[in-house]
Point group: C2
């Protein structure tokens, strides 16, 4: 692989000149020289060494995408339809902006920051953080950050959060169920933090508005870590028989619950109504198609990518927090009773 220096020698030019035409800074280069350099670049198949460039510029063109893997979730994070839809959009956006994506997955944020700093990533997209994890990041990483679905965002400059009206989404779901005549409604999730806390709040508000009381057992909690997914859902399917409807915090869960319920010989939605969240590919393709709260997952990725690039290039002047809208998508898993 030729280097700029070698090229310069071959052409009897300085590295500066060669470097300049490579980068299109040709205002002060004569047409003839440009031509000569271009030809040589082509002939010798010059390929820039990004590491060297990064080192010299103290930039990297890398956008780190950090996913916090909660061990109680599925081990294959990228397999989750919601995550993969978002990552896919993110990847495309990053690439189209001329940056490179590097994915970091770990179960604690410290290691991630380490690696991101090591690579000198120009910016970071953070996903799945919750609580005070924030502080650690803010202290140790000084480049722009876009977080997705985070809360309690710090006041730090250079941090933008892309969120969703989670509370409203869950509220809409419950309201829909209530309007369809349901009053015995359960909430299904694996935790009560982050977005799920918001969704739970919206769920409660929906019940309250309808004058329905809530007690702890109405929270169908998934213990994915302790038992397998299979058993978990089977247990909850049994418990769900006390209800006429259950609100699930994701389409993935909705589908799995539906299967477990059907495995017990009950029908969806005749015997149990189910409503999901996300409007992911899985829920759309499943039959009966999952009634759900739509969020524009792709938009989340695109926005996150674009905003981060703008921040990196110091062109961003939008809000510190962007809240994406939600909407109800009526499909086939909610029955009027």
């Amino acid at each position: 692989m030729v280097t700029i220096k070698e090229l310069a020698e071959i052409l009897n030019l300085s590295t500066t000149t060669v470097s300049n035409v490579i980068h299109g800074k040709t205002k002060e280069v004569s047409g003839a020289t440009i031509e000569r350099v271009r030809e040589a670049l082509d002939e010798y198949e010059y390929v820039p060494n990004i590491n060297a460039s990064n080192l010299a510029r103290n930039k990297s063109k890398i956008i780190g995408v950090a996913l916090l893997a909660r061990p109680d979730k599925y081990p294959n994070l990228l397999t989750d339809p919601f995550i993969s839809e978002m990552i896919s959009a993110l990847e495309r956006t990053i690439r189209e902006n001329g940056y490179y994506m590097m994915i970091y997955i770990a179960d604690e944020i410290g290691g991630i920051i380490q690696q991101i700093s090591s690579w000198n990533a120009d910016g970071v997209i953070l996903f799945g953080l919750m609580g005070d994890t924030w502080k650690k990041v803010g202290e140790r990483y000084k480049n722009p950050i876009v977080s997705i679905d985070c809360f309690d965002v710090t006041e730090r400059k250079n941090v933008v959060n892309i969120g969703l009206r989670d509370e409203e989404g869950a509220y809409l779901a419950v309201r829909h169920l209530v309007r369809k005549g349901h009053r015995r409604i359960a909430f299904l999730s694996d935790n009560c933090h982050g977005v799920d806390r918001e969704r739970f709040a919206g769920f409660r508000r929906g019940l309250q508005e309808a004058g329905i009381s809530f007690c702890e057992r109405d929270f169908l909690k998934l213990m994915l870590l302790e038992k397998g997914a299979e058993e978990c859902f089977s247990d909850l399917a049994a418990r769900s028989e006390e209800y006429t409807a259950v609100f699930c915090v994701s389409d993935l869960y909705a589908v799995q619950l539906a299967n477990a319920v059907r495995a017990r010989g009950r029908r969806i939605p005749e015997d149990l109504s189910i409503i999901g969240f996300d409007d992911s590919l899985l829920g759309r393709l499943y039959r009966p198609a999952i009634t759900t709260i739509h969020q524009d997952t792709e938009m989340k990725g695109v926005l996150a990518g674009n905003i981060l690039v703008q921040m990196i290039e110091e062109k961003y002047d939008g809000e510190k927090e962007v809240m994406l809208p939600v909407s109800l998508v009526e499909r086939d898993t909610v029955k009027k009773i």
Copy 2:
């Protein structure tokens, strides 16, 4: 961020010594010095600059994962359940081996090689190449390559392919259908290259063995690019009425076909039997669960990652081609007639 040089000054040592203890080359360093350096590393929160290290070592610890995006497929490659399962396994394997994954997606291989060379990736995983695309890569990229599902692999050293008994898989599928009494069987795919060519061959062999003739119209060809997915599948669902069973080259397609068929008021498997390929999450969660040809997608990713790392570290002494087995998974979309 402290640098090694600064640390060396602070400690009144040379950069060599500091670097040595950082890398555990402590055979020739006194215990006291080791202690002092370690403490300083900690106190000043030293973070290595990987770019500088890469430049000096002429290595990168980057494994490039190149996906060729065929424009006639879905735009969001990572959204395909099969791809995302594999990438997920790959990511984990790469990470566990101490490497970093960089994804490159493009619709032509030239650009991908460029970028991979630019980053000086230690090795590459190639996915979805077909035909002579191979040659280009072999000529221009000299580090180890692991390809997944490729054919006509070059004789070049340093190239290993992870394949699948695709032909056998399709054959098993057809044999299963035949044993269940089916004789009017269609083949559904979007193309006839790469793995799909093999699967088609296995399909033909299965028919032949059963003394069933094949004519061109039995190839249900998806034209995803020209029309939307919706319309495509709707068309093919109509055409499928001439058959009692169709073999789909992926579970994703199987599910979509099933939906289109059901949208026409026909039932699966009562009116049409469907068999898929991959055994992906989607097919497992769908109801009726898709009868399919299992391939160990996760294993593909894990193997690809591990073998590539071994090649990079010059420890690989296995075959140039690894063929993973397939098996039939009977679920609920094939009826005996």
